[in-house]
C-alpha cells in the first residue's frame, strides 16, 4: 500500500514528464553536446570534444558587444515595463468593476495576437516611410525621417508593448492580495493619495513588480521575433546571432555555444535576482 501511495503521483505525471523530457531536455542536452563539437568551413561539423567554441565567444569583443546590448535592451525594457505597468495595474485595480473588465481585456488583448504580427505592425509604424515619420513630416515637424527601424530604441519600444501584459498581470496579482483596508487606514492617519501610493500600495505591490521583472527580463533577453524584424542584421541580439550561426554560417557548434551561454547567463541573473528578493522580503509577506 505504502509503495503505491508514493508512486501514484509519479505515475500520474509520467505522461507530462515524458513530454517534458522528449521536447525540452533532449534538445537542450543535444545542444549542450553540440557546443563542444568543432566546425570547419570545408569539413562541416566534426564530432570532437573541446572548449574552442566557448573560447572563441569569450575572447571576441564582437560577442561581448552583442551580449551587452542584449542585456541592456532587456534591462531597459524591464525598467520601462515596471514604471508603466505598476501605475497602469493600480489604475485598473481602482476602476469600477464594469470598466475594469473592459480595460483589462484591452490590456491583455495583444497577448491573443502573434508576436510576429504585432512586430510587423510596429515595423509599419516605425519605418522611415512609416506612419509616424509620414505624419511628422506632413505636419512639418521634421524634414528628414527619424530613424527608428534597426535601432535599439525601436526594439525596446516593441518589446515593452509585447511584455507589459506580463508585468501588469504580476502586479495585479500582488494588488489583489493586499488588504484594501490598509489604504483607508493610511488615509485615516492623515496620508494623501500620493503618500498612500508610495508608502502603502507600492511596497505591498513590490513582490509583484519583482516577479514581473523576472518574467519580462528573461523573455526579453531571449526574445527572437521582435529583434529579428526590427533589428535585422544591423542591431544584433544574442538570439538573432544564434539564428545566423545556425542558418547562414552553418556553424552549429558555435551557435550552440552562444545559446548555452545565453541560457546560463539569464539563469544566473534570475537566480541572483530571486535570492535578493527573497532576502529583502522574507518575513514581510507570506
Amino acid at each position: 500500500m505504502k509503495t503505491t501511495g508514493t508512486s501514484t503521483p509519479w505515475l500520474l505525471s509520467a505522461p507530462a514528464l515524458a513530454l517534458f523530457a522528449a521536447l525540452l531536455l533532449t534538445p537542450l542536452a543535444m545542444t549542450f553536446l553540440l557546443s563542444f563539437n568543432s566546425f570547419s568551413f570545408y569539413g562541416g561539423i566534426e564530432n570532437t570534444f573541446g572548449f574552442q567554441n566557448y573560447a572563441e565567444v569569450l575572447s571576441d569583443v564582437y560577442f561581448y558587444e552583442i551580449f551587452g546590448r542584449t542585456f541592456l535592451i532587456a534591462f531597459i525594457t524591464t525598467a520601462i515595463c515596471a514604471l508603466l505597468g505598476l501605475p497602469e495595474a493600480y489604475i485598473l485595480f481602482r476602476m469600477k468593476p464594469a470598466w475594469r473588465s473592459f480595460m483589462l481585456l484591452i490590456v491583455l488583448g495583444p497577448l491573443l495576437i502573434s508576436v510576429v504580427v504585432r512586430t510587423l505592425g510596429w515595423a509599419i509604424l516605425l519605418g522611415n516611410k512609416g506612419v509616424i515619420n509620414e505624419f511628422l513630416r506632413d505636419i512639418g515637424l521634421i524634414s528628414s525621417p527619424i530613424r527608428m527601424m534597426y535601432t535599439s530604441t525601436g526594439i525596446v519600444i516593441a518589446l515593452v508593448h509585447v511584455m507589459i501584459p506580463f508585468m501588469i498581470l504580476a502586479v495585479w496579482a500582488a494588488l489583489q492580495r493586499q488588504d484594501p483596508a490598509t489604504e483607508r487606514a493610511a488615509e485615516s492617519l492623515g496620508a494623501g493619495p500620493l503618500t498612500i501610493f508610495m508608502r502603502i500600495v507600492l511596497p505591498q505591490a513590490m513582490p509583484g513588480v519583482l516577479s514581473g521583472s523576472l518574467i519580462v527580463f528573461s523573455l526579453s533577453a531571449s526574445a527572437f521575433a521582435t529583434p529579428a524584424v526590427l533589428g535585422g542584421r544591423r542591431i544584433k541580439m544574442v538570439s538573432t546571432t544564434v539564428y545566423d550561426e545556425f542558418l547562414n554560417t552553418l556553424n552549429w557548434p558555435l551557435g550552440a555555444a552562444i545559446a548555452i551561454l545565453l541560457l546560463v547567463s539569464v539563469l544566473t541573473i534570475m537566480l541572483a535576482w530571486n535570492k535578493l528578493v527573497e532576502r529583502r522580503y522574507s518575513g514581510v509577506f507570506e
Binding site: 483607508r184 487606514a185 485615516s188 496620508a191 507570506e286
Partner: protein, 362 residues
Amino acid sequence: MDQPAFNHGLQMAFLELQALNKRYNNVVAVEDFNLSIERGEFVSLLGPSGCGKTTTLQMIAGFTQPTSGAIMLNGRDLGAVPARKRGLGIVFQTYALFPHMTVEQNVGFGLEMRKIPADERRRRVADALDLVHLTHLGDRFPRNMSGGQRQRVALARALVIEPELLLLDEPLSNLDAKLREEMQLELRRIQQEAGVTTLLVTHDQSEAMALSDRVAVMQGGRLIQEDSPFDVYEKPATSFISTFLGKTNSLAATLERDKAGTTIVIDGTRLSGPDTALAAGPVEVSLRPERIELTDAEKATISGNVIERVFLGDQWLFRVETPIGKLLVMQRNLGRREANVGERLHLSWEPEAMRLLPRGEG
C-alpha cells in the same frame, strides 16, 4: 479665551449624528439616524448583520458620503472634511496593519504624517506600545504576531495620534472566544486610560454590554433604542430587541385591568401582572429565563414537564412544557442533581419579571 465651547449658543453633544441617511441606488442602508455621544463616552452600535452599522461608521470616518444629514464633531461639521483631515482613530475589522512595516513603523505612521519630530515620535510610539503592553515587540513584522497582538497594534496605531474619536468596527470578531473575552477587558481598560470617546460597532450583544456606557441598537438601518446596557436588556423597547439581546420567552397575551391591578391572560391561564402604562388589550410578554425560579408545588406560578435539558457548566437550561407554552428556564448550577427530562418542575416568578410590549411590533 478660556471660555467653554458653546456652539451657536446651543449646548451640543461631542459627536452628533443628525438625520443621517445613506442610500445605495434603491437599497436603504441607513435611515434617519440620530445619535449623540458625550465626550469620553463609550457607545456601542449593536445590530444584526446588514443593518447598516459599518455604513454608519464609514460615514463618520469619511470613507462614505451620506445621502443626507450632518455629522457634527465638537461643534464642527465634518461634511466637507476629507477622511484624512478628520483626525479620527480607526480600528478596522481586519486590523489593516501595514504588512511591510514593523510594529513601531506602523504605530509611528500617523505621527510621521503629522510631521512630529523623530525623538518625540519615538517617545509617543513607546508610550502607545506600553499602553497596549507590546513594548517588547516593537521591531516585529505583523505577519509574525498572533491575532490578539495584531489587534493591540491596530489599537495603538489608532490611539497614538490622540484622536478626538475612536471608531472600532467589530475589532474582536476575528479572535477566538477566550481571547475575545480577555481583549474585551483590555479594550475597556485602554479606552479608560486614554479617556477617548469611542464608538464600537458589533453584532455581539455580550460584547456591546460588557464594554459600553451606552448601547445603540440598530435594525434595518434605523436606530430603535439607545440606553445603558442594563436598561436595553431589562427594558427592551421592542420584542426584536428582547430576543436579540440575550434569551427570552416571548408570549402572546391579553392584558386586563381592574381596581386591584393588572392581570395577564395567556391561553386561558390567568396570572397577576406587573404595573404598566399599556392599555388593556393584546400585549406581548417577555420573560427572561434567568428570572424564573424553581420552587415547590404549592408556591408555583405554573408547573410543567421537562422536555429538554442542557448543562452549560455554570448553569442548567431547561425547556418546560407548561399550560402557557414551552418555557426556557435557566438555573444556576448549585452542584446538585437537577430534574431530568420527563420530570415535573414547579416554576415561579415575580409579576415584575414580565416585561410587557405592545403586540405586533418588531
